[in-house]
């Protein structure tokens, strides 16, 4: 068993399989026709809220992904 078997080019560049597959899927989604394209891109939207905590208290600035849109 060759432990140094030829790695795929994306792994050699430091990308993980998940990043690679998600990138491929995103490229396919960008190439769809109109109603399907916006449905697919909307389906994959992620909403999050990030806050940094310092000394046990949250800092004032909270980043939220849904506000700017």
């Amino acid at each position: 068993m060759a432990s140094n078997a030829a790695v795929p080019f994306w792994r050699a560049a430091g990308m993980t399989y998940i990043t690679y597959t998600n990138l491929c899927a995103n490229l396919v989604r960008q190439c769809l026709k109109e109603p399907y394209k916006s449905e697919a891109l909307n389906r994959e939207k992620v909403h999050y809220s990030v806050s940094r905590w310092v000394d046990g208290k949250p800092e004032k600035q909270t980043l939220r992904s849904d506000i700017p849109e």
């Binding site: 899927a25 490229l27 389906r43």
Partner: protein, 186 residues
């Protein structure tokens, strides 16, 4: 809140699983039930039927949808990284990594094609094929102008890429768009 405690008379006497482990446990600690081992939670490998079934059962699943669920078909051709692989009933158990390409499902005289963005195909000994992909679209939902534009963009990015990561991303873009192109024209 009342917690209903299971009476010891309700529980089965033996926990199913590794018999050697259970015997060794009972010798050492006869008063406690042996814990379950991982093999007790696994369902057994599906048996290989003695005669080859006439139809292949296909499951095509995406993270958000089950496109084909236990559909009986005659053959599927999956886009494995090693090339297009045809799967017939009675195929040897295989695990194949998929590259972006066309999955064709053959049922009688009908052929349904889906473009897969990548994933895996598991063929089990009992003629069940599980295909998991992140995106699967019928070919008529793909826009040819966007594909051509994307291909040209990424080819240009590949020529002007400097770091390894940029090159890899550009190469992935070129691969996916060429596969989309081939799917639309082939």
């Amino acid at each position: 809140m009342i917690w209903r405690r299971q009476l010891s008379s309700d529980l089965p006497a033996e926990t199913v699983g590794d018999s050697k482990f259970n015997d060794a446990w009972k010798k050492l600690i006869p008063n406690m039930d042996p814990p379950k081992t991982p093999s007790a939670y696994m369902s057994p490998r599906p048996p290989t039927p003695s005669t080859i079934p006439s139809k292949l059962t296909v499951n095509l699943v995406l993270p958000y949808e089950s496109v084909l669920a236990a559909k009986e078909v005659d053959m599927v051709i999956v886009p494995a990284t090693t090339g297009q692989m045809g799967v017939l009933p009675g195929h040897v158990a295989t695990i194949a990594e998929l590259k972006p390409g066309i999955l064709s499902v053959h049922e009688g005289n009908d052929i349904t094609k889906y473009f897969l963005s990548g994933g895996f195909a598991f063929v089990h000994a009992n003629s069940v094929a599980d295909i998991i992909a992140v995106e699967a679209t019928p070919l008529d939902q793909i826009d040819p102008t966007l594909v051509q534009k994307g291909l040209a963009d990424f080819q240009q990015k590949l020529n002007s890429a400097s770091t390894d990561v940029e090159k890899a991303e550009a190469q992935i873009g070129v691969d996916v768009h060429s596969a989309l192109n081939a799917a639309l024209t082939g």
